[in-house]
Subunit: 109 residues, 2 copies
Amino acid sequence: MAQYTFRTRSSDCPYELAIGLVSGRWKPRLLEVLKDETLRYGDLKERLKPVSDKVLSAALDDMTRNGLISRTAFAEIPPRVEYALTPQGESLLEALGPLRDWARTENGR
Amino acid sequence: MAQYTFRTRSSDCPYELAIGLVSGRWKPRLLEVLKDETLRYGDLKERLKPVSDKVLSAALDDMTRNGLISRTAFAEIPPRVEYALTPQGESLLEALGPLRDWARTENGR
DNA sequence: CAGGATCCAATGAGATACTG
DNA sequence: CAGTATCTCATTGGATCCTG
């Protein structure tokens, strides 16, 4: 994974780097729903319920460029595109586990 | 810890909740520098080098309201204010550990 | 010393409409 | 089906100046 881009780079801070990769309203959920499952654009859109096309495709694009998600387009009509987690995406999701647990505990969920 | 506020709340997602607490350019670092140490405003400003007053005080305020940081003001002249991690702040920092490690590994640092 | 007040630029998110 | 194009609005980060 070569380069991450940030508006204001001070990414000598690893926290910031990792957080930057998943901050955005839909990114953590994208990782989650893609766990163990390859999904098409329409599936993702349905699972993330009220997301707009623009925001979803931007998030997918971001995460694809950052190597967290793989994108496979089939040359068919109608078009079909499948998204899945890459190994990096999977390990990032795992690394997020403690954070999720913390939130659940502190928030009493 | 009662309530977190988000622009667009869909915080039925724990990831999003925890990430929201530490997204912001300086927040992860604030947690880090306050580990094991109580610091004054000026100390923090120095350690976070090129941060502006507005952004630093906003971050401190945020995190204080969210119960991650404690703020103690002394009624003296000149004013003195000390910041420290709360237990929640400490446990959040720990929960961020795997994320930091992930970033270091994936980024080869 | 520890900030609040103000102003600005850049980014993020959403709604809607349109297309190969 | 899987997006892109446009537009709008809210939030973020930063610079600068000011103050109890």
